[in-house]
Symmetry: C2
Subunit: 114 residues, 2 copies
């Protein structure tokens, strides 16, 4: 299994429950019980997902009296966006060049018509 | 295992070799042999990665005489960017509100000084 941070981030994102939890945490801190509320799954299963997010560095937990709320950590998500954006820019550059090429062909063809 | 498209996309991205292959395909079509060139791994291992990318819909392969070049498909990557961007915007909104709140506190504190 790859252990680089970007791979760990994408692996953590590869689950709809974990993405829903991150989206919830984007609105503010939440305890595991609060995170579990919308899901029809055991607290144990929810805890496993929370651990995956925590080990991936996507969330941290802090002690607040009897509560241990989870908080989103934006850095790994930012890095994931950066990778995808950089990649998309290369692709868009290609499509722009292809479009320019097709326009040249079209202009040449039209120039040849009577 | 989750089978929704977004989870499949993120799972496919959770490997440095597959991300390097996608980055290479962002520059143009390539055969499996061409994709394998930079990696110190068997052609069989490279083929397995190509299959994961193909099953995830991130690449397609076409027949070109004796060659079967791979081509990048941008749609699933675009959807992944969209999810992350939407998520980041929520988070940034939170940070903006926090900053505004801190400024209010600061202004109030300064107003109370002699």
């Amino acid at each position: 299994m790859p252990t680089d941070q970007l791979s760990t981030t994408f692996a953590a994102l590869a689950d709809p429950t974990r993405r829903a939890m991150l989206a919830r945490l984007g609105e503010g801190e939440a305890t595991v019980n609060e995170l579990a509320a919308p899901f029809a799954m055991s607290l144990q299963a929810v805890s496993r997902h929370v651990k995956v997010l925590e080990h991936a560095g996507l969330i941290t937990r802090r002690q607040d009296a009897q509560r241990r709320p989870c908080r989103l950590q934006p850095k790994p998500l930012d890095d994931a966006v950066d990778w995808l954006e950089e990649h998309r820019q290369v692709l868009e550059g290609r499509l722009d060049r292809l479009e320019a090429h097709l326009r040249t062909i079209q202009a040449t063809t039209e120039g040849q018509q009577p």
